[in-house]
């Protein structure tokens, strides 16, 4: 799995940041054709993986893969904010968590029929808290899973970007938000299930969880979500707005003097990024069957950043690869040597930052460039040979 997606990363990452050869230059057709070929190949490989995985993987492994795909959705969104927009968020767990809790609340209510969710009974809550009531409707809960994170991110962004809070200060602020959010969840036992979170989600829209068939369905839904968010991210990045976002990242003040409201650009990108995290949270719940403060606090928020960093920020496919590779490494290592993961993860992060700041996608790009360079060198030699 890792190997195939790495190829995909190499292929797709080559595309977005590279300045397209303007029509004036009459750029060589060959690289464009090769790029199209690579893209076609990547899509084909991705499709094959999605079709083959359910056939060859055990239910347990398939569920894991589905979970990694959900993480890839987070990574795609976070990359929009950090990779392309320069807003390093160490608090995306909050947006992921809001999405997850919104859906989990609905499933708990649906499960409890007309009664109270199990954990409320245990903590002595006698009537349904007002904040829970609207979540009885899926029509409210599912949009809320995406919209609540988006609105929160927009409010946060609008209030801090205007005061020119950025860089490390912004990162710290979001980190604090993640810490506060986890504390709040733990503290409100009767409302949120406290440390345990919302557990025992057994049925989702009539789909009984924990059997091979529902796992397959959820896997396909997760794969579809990756594809959809990838396409949205690609459109955003390649549009004029995407160029503007990168310009804001590289020279926010300059952008203001081009007549753009840089804050608005950042708020939009950050909000979109949070929405994707919320969507991922919403998918996480049925796939894993539980959401707890441990999934949304400081540590998972940092892990999300690591997916993007290792995959390659500011590349389209890099974060997907990063999320898949790092999460599967997490699982395998934990099976083999529990407790060792944190050290390895820290080491990986340091190694990436120091030696490969552009992550796996950056490495792939270097290899590709070198190959192209060799090819161009060979061509030049031929040209010189014919000229003389």
């Amino acid at each position: 799995m890792a190997a195939t997606t790495a190829t995909e990363g190499e292929v797709l990452s080559a595309q977005p940041p590279g300045p397209d050869p303007g029509p004036g230059t009459g750029g060589e057709p060959a690289p464009t054709a090769r790029r199209a070929l690579r893209q076609g190949l990547a899509v084909a490989v991705a499709l094959v993986v999605v079709v083959v995985a359910p056939l060859v993987l055990s239910e347990f492994r398939l569920a894991l893969l589905a979970k990694y795909l959900v993480f890839a959705v987070v990574a795609i969104g976070l990359n929009l904010a950090w990779g392309y927009g320069g807003m390093l968020s160490l608090g995306h767990g909050v947006f992921f968590g809001l999405g997850a809790y919104c859906t989990a609340m609905h499933f708990k209510l649906a499960d409890a029929r007309s009664g109270l969710p199990d954990f409320m009974t245990w903590s002595g809550v006698e009537s349904l808290p007002a904040i829970w009531a609207p979540f009885r409707s899926a029509w409210f809960a599912l949009p809320a899973a995406v919209l609540v994170p988006m609105v929160l991110a927009a409010l946060l962004g609008a209030s801090v970007f205007r005061r020119r809070v950025r860089g490390a200060y912004f990162a710290l602020l979001t980190q604090a938000l993640a810490a506060a959010f986890a504390i709040l969840l733990v503290g409100q036992q009767g409302l949120t299930g406290g440390t345990n979170g919302l557990t025992n989600i057994t049925e989702v829209f009539g789909l009984e969880l924990g059997n091979p068939r529902s796992t397959q369905v959820l896997f396909f839904v997760a794969a579809g979500a990756v594809a959809a968010t990838f396409l949205i991210a690609r459109q955003v990045v390649q549009s004029r707005f995407g160029r503007l976002l990168m310009a804001v990242r590289d020279g926010e003040d300059r952008v203001r003097f081009l007549g753009y409201d840089a804050n608005r650009v950042k708020v939009l990108a950050f909000s979109l990024s949070a929405g994707m995290a919320g969507l991922a949270g919403a998918l996480f719940v049925p796939i894993v069957g539980i959401v707890s403060p441990a999934n949304v606090g400081v540590v998972p928020s940092i892990e999300m950043v690591i997916w993007v960093a290792i995959g390659g920020r500011a590349t389209l496919a890099g974060p997907i690869v990063g999320a898949l590779v790092v999460s599967s490494a997490h699982t395998s290592l934990s099976e083999w040597y529990p407790g060792g993961w944190l050290y390895l993860q820290g080491a990986l992060f340091v190694v990436t930052m120091v030696w490969a700041p552009r992550g796996l996608a950056g490495l792939a790009e270097v290899v590709r460039r070198r190959r192209e360079h060799d090819r161009a060198g060979a061509r030049a030699e031929v040209a010189v040979g014919t000229a003389s």
């Binding site: 940041p17 029509p23 004036g24 590289d250 003097f257 007549g259």
Partner: protein
């Protein structure tokens, strides 16, 4: 009906030290106004105030009937005031065309911003040609030379069609050839919009300046034609004074005090 740009009584202080102290400036439509003065005279600060980067503690800046003080940077740009910075700031990781396109499309709504750029807009193509970067269109802006970046930046302002353009040291760090090319470019721009140019280069000043405003210690010291300013004894005093202050390491500048015009020529040396 007064001037296009009317700066009155503008004061700014940084940590209690006054940077601008009651600046008065009026620039008419179609003018090329040069702004000179020793380092720390407040030239760049004045541009910062006009463009909304620095908020003044007192005074007003009116542009075409609009008060600019209190507006945000991008709103001022949208009224038609453009500026450059002392160091060229283009977006290195975007291509030359993308830089220009970004500058040209600042009035697009979000919905059109979310579409991809198809081809090169006519005005972007025009700007590419006038800043002589057509053959570098697809290259990343980071690969341009210093002078070319400066031109790209001017091109980005051109496509925005400002009514007033504030250029902060447009030829600083340029080779002689680049300087004359930039001068020609500025003359062409001047046919379309009003210009305020901060520049130390006397050669450049002599060739292109019509009206000059001399600033010193946050105030306007003198204003008029190049000849008038050069002959102004107060201006001479300021520059002579500066050269004397620096006698320690610039003995020859203070020692060889010749005619007034020669001293003003040291504007460049003194700053």
């Amino acid at each position: 009906m007064g001037a296009l740009l009317q700066v009155s009584g503008v004061a700014v202080s940084f940590d209690g030290a006054p940077a601008l102290d009651g600046v008065e400036l009026a620039v008419d439509e179609g003018e090329i106004r040069f702004l000179i003065g020793p380092n720390g005279a407040g030239k760049t600060t004045l541009i910062d105030v006009i463009t909304g980067l620095t908020a003044p503690s007192a005074g007003s800046v009116r542009f075409d009937g609009h008060e600019l003080v209190g507006r945000r940077e991008h709103q001022i740009v949208r009224l038609g005031v453009g500026r450059t910075f002392q160091t060229p700031t283009v977006f290195d990781r975007l291509s030359v065309v993308e830089n220009l396109d970004l500058a040209a499309t600042y009035r697009l709504g979000l919905r059109s911003m979310l579409r991809r750029r198809r081809g090169i807009e006519a005005e972007v193509g025009e700007a590419l040609a006038s800043v002589q970067l057509d053959d570098r269109a697809g290259d990343s802006a980071g690969s341009l030379s210093h002078g070319q970046k400066q031109w790209l930046e001017i091109g980005m302002l051109l496509v925005q069609r400002p009514r007033l353009l504030l250029l902060d040291e447009p030829v600083a760090g340029m080779s002689p050839e680049e300087r004359s090319a930039t001068g020609a470019l500025i003359e062409r721009i001047a046919q379309r919009c009003t210009l305020v140019v901060v520049e130390h280069d006397m050669e450049f000043l002599r060739r292109f300046a019509r009206r000059v405003t001399v600033m010193h210690e946050g105030r306007v010291l003198s204003e008029g034609s190049v000849e008038h300013v050069r002959a102004d004894p107060v201006v001479q005093e300021v520059y002579l004074g500066r050269s004397r202050d620096r006698r320690g390491h610039r003995a020859e500048a203070g020692g060889a005090a010749g005619g007034g015009a020669a001293e003003v020529d040291r504007v460049e040396a003194a700053t």
